[in-house]
Symmetry: C2
Subunit: 102 residues, 2 copies
DNA sequence: AGAATACGTAAGGAATATCTAACGCGTCAA
DNA sequence: TTGACGCGTTAGATATTCCTTACGTATTCT
């Protein structure tokens, strides 16, 4: 079971959905249009994304509007920054090493 | 088949491996130590990461040293930035809209 | 009311991913 | 050269993911 933001990003269709939502709120059926999978499959992806918290849902009559959930990818951002930090520090150590041997 | 950096990040063991490598080059067996899976499984993760390009390998005798591949996660960084851009722009439009209706 | 619309959900199957156990192959040390 | 070490690969089992088809449930529209 995909249970975090990393898992959400692992599927190309889900990334495409996020990109489309980056342009603003969209209806479920509009989101499904043009994708290489059925409307049902799209719905399942959206359900997953909702559970993980990368999108939000708003119901209006028989329609459902989806939008990006702010901070939905915070987990990913934070992780990448942490890795960058580690790496930057290791490059720094490398630099000191080179300086020392110069 | 996991074939891109997003897929690499989708597995907690692979993220752990990247974090450890953030502290510098490591031998295969050192990387495997402490993980909840066998050495064999770790080796398979490393092979995958090597194929995708998130880690690099250096052989020395019977040992293999792994390290982070610079730009290995560039694909992910770029994608996140693009999404941020879209989102920033949509917030901007929202701001204009609010201004207009004020 | 009856039909059409907008969606979600369930069931079932095919494709992937992931793990362990067993084995192979160099390399190093005695 | 014999054996231990470091590590990858294969085979095969199990788990997970992802998709489609069929169906259910509210809403609108006529």
């Amino acid at each position: 079971m995909v249970e975090d933001a990393f898992g959400v990003l692992a599927h190309p269709v889900r990334r495409e959905l996020l990109v489309r939502l980056g342009q603003g709120e969209q209806r479920a059926s509009d989101l499904a249009r043009g994708l290489p999978i059925s409307r049902s499959a799209t719905s399942q992806h959206l359900r997953l994304m909702l559970a993980v918290g990368t999108v939000a849902e708003r119901r209006e009559g028989r329609e459902r509007y989806y939008s990006l959930e702010r901070d939905g990818l915070a987990e990913v951002d934070a992780w990448l920054e942490r890795l960058d930090g580690f790496w930057a520090r290791s490059l720094e150590r490398l630099g000191e090493h080179l300086d020392a041997s110069a």
